[in-house]
Symmetry: C2
Subunit: 321 residues, 2 copies
Amino acid sequence: MENKRNIGIAIHGGAGTILRSKMTPERETNYRNALKEALEVGYACLQQGQTAIDAVEAAVILLEDCPLFNAGKGSVFNAEGKQEMDASIMEGKELEAGAVAAIQGIKNPIKLARKIMEESAHILLIGEGASQFAQSHQLDFEAPKYFYNAYRYEQWQRLYGKEKAQLDHSEEETKPEEDEKYGTVGAVALDQFGNLAAATSTGGMTNKKFGRVGDSPIIGVGTYANNATCAISCTGSGEYFMRAVTAYDVSCLMEYKGLSLQAAAEEAIMNRLSQIGGSGGLIGMDAQGNIVMPFNCAGMYRGFQREKEQVVEIFKSHRSH
Amino acid sequence: MENKRNIGIAIHGGAGTILRSKMTPERETNYRNALKEALEVGYACLQQGQTAIDAVEAAVILLEDCPLFNAGKGSVFNAEGKQEMDASIMEGKELEAGAVAAIQGIKNPIKLARKIMEESAHILLIGEGASQFAQSHQLDFEAPKYFYNAYRYEQWQRLYGKEKAQLDHSEEETKPEEDEKYGTVGAVALDQFGNLAAATSTGGMTNKKFGRVGDSPIIGVGTYANNATCAISCTGSGEYFMRAVTAYDVSCLMEYKGLSLQAAAEEAIMNRLSQIGGSGGLIGMDAQGNIVMPFNCAGMYRGFQREKEQVVEIFKSHRSH
């Protein structure tokens, strides 16, 4: 049995072009407080003897409910003006997993992913069928205005601090690459029983078309957990993570090549993902309680909590954990 | 550059409880002829100097067009009496990939997967959005009667209203575990330029509900290709393959642990997949032209073709390739 002192949780709220020069002090405080709150809720689960799955679910629910992040309430609009959300969860003891893609109107996609893991024979459910499953399990749905308000808040947040006003609907001036938002939230945790778990949730890409599904709901890509190696949650340019099978790549580098979590995670992000042009990062935790949070872009909303140690960061730093 | 003599293709038409005692000679001949035809069409592409992607697409199109296999025309009925098809394709040089899930009415899902790979910025498109993309690229759709097939319809009618989904060809009176036959088709190939490619296509599970998506459209699970290691197409109990990330597992065992294709594929199927209760098999090919076709169930429709060598098999054998 693992030593209780090793329990811990790490979270992320997305990675990308997050520049200090574009961040106001107020905005930064809002993000830091939201990350802090999610960490504390997740860590409290672990302290109270709950499992790693309970902890990552609880932390991700907080992040889904916060309009600052592109998941749950804060999900962006697709090309049809609707939110299509994806989420996945995995536990490292039995390698059980659940995931949902392209679901609309549900309050907490991560709760649905867990229900799928625990109460269905399947792993990935999508669209209207996933909604039916959620309804049959009494999960909460919200009216469009719940998500609509979040969208307005995000619009305002994007403009906040800029020296110009932007008329509604004037976003078409910006190039798609500039307007794409790869927001994702995620959590990984180690409980007192030595179990690892990982969870990831996203509202997808702004203005996405054609029923695009990214890496977040894919077990082995956006999310992976295995007590023998690590728990991983990824965020970034999803298609590149899919081609690199990033989350499972970290696990294989540890299991088959004998790398440490830190060496494996850095190899997966800084070399393998970067070589094919991918951008983003991941959070990872191993069964000894080590935590890594590598990314190859400007910033990643991230943090972790272990006994007497809480860290919340946004921009680049060279701190080692 | 690879030696031209190493070009080759392997295909599968699903794995499961395929017992000699339940196979009539006529039915066996039909299956063998269909596999033979798909091999020859795919191999002809390679001989004519086309790429591995061309070869796997051509072979899978033949299998999709054949009503014997659970893909394309032969797809099973879901709980609503419709076919929802999944497919994926990947090439090993640039690690480009495309996939589609839960699409209805399209004649050849594998053609759509390739279009997504080559003409979109995305990898996985689903449902109605995927249909719109297919229509905008002039891919062929077919009316419901094209997919209608008396055998498949009866299969669905027997299960209709029952609270279970059934993998292809399971008999009503047997427990699912005892007589599962997982309908999927797939191909892997090596071309004269040393490029590997893999493709997989399926009509899913009979009477499936809730928008279930299995392993076939997931890059790294049902399909993977990397010139540095191998090309893999899987077939079997999809959820177990998803938890084991089977296709990429073979690649990692080769790249990170130094195993041969044969050792890696056997480890992935006979140990890793089997240990968590998964059932099925895969076809694999490496850049030297080695071919493997391991499975841990009663049978797998399979075959391969290399220079002056064509093999088609259904039941267990211990032949080494």
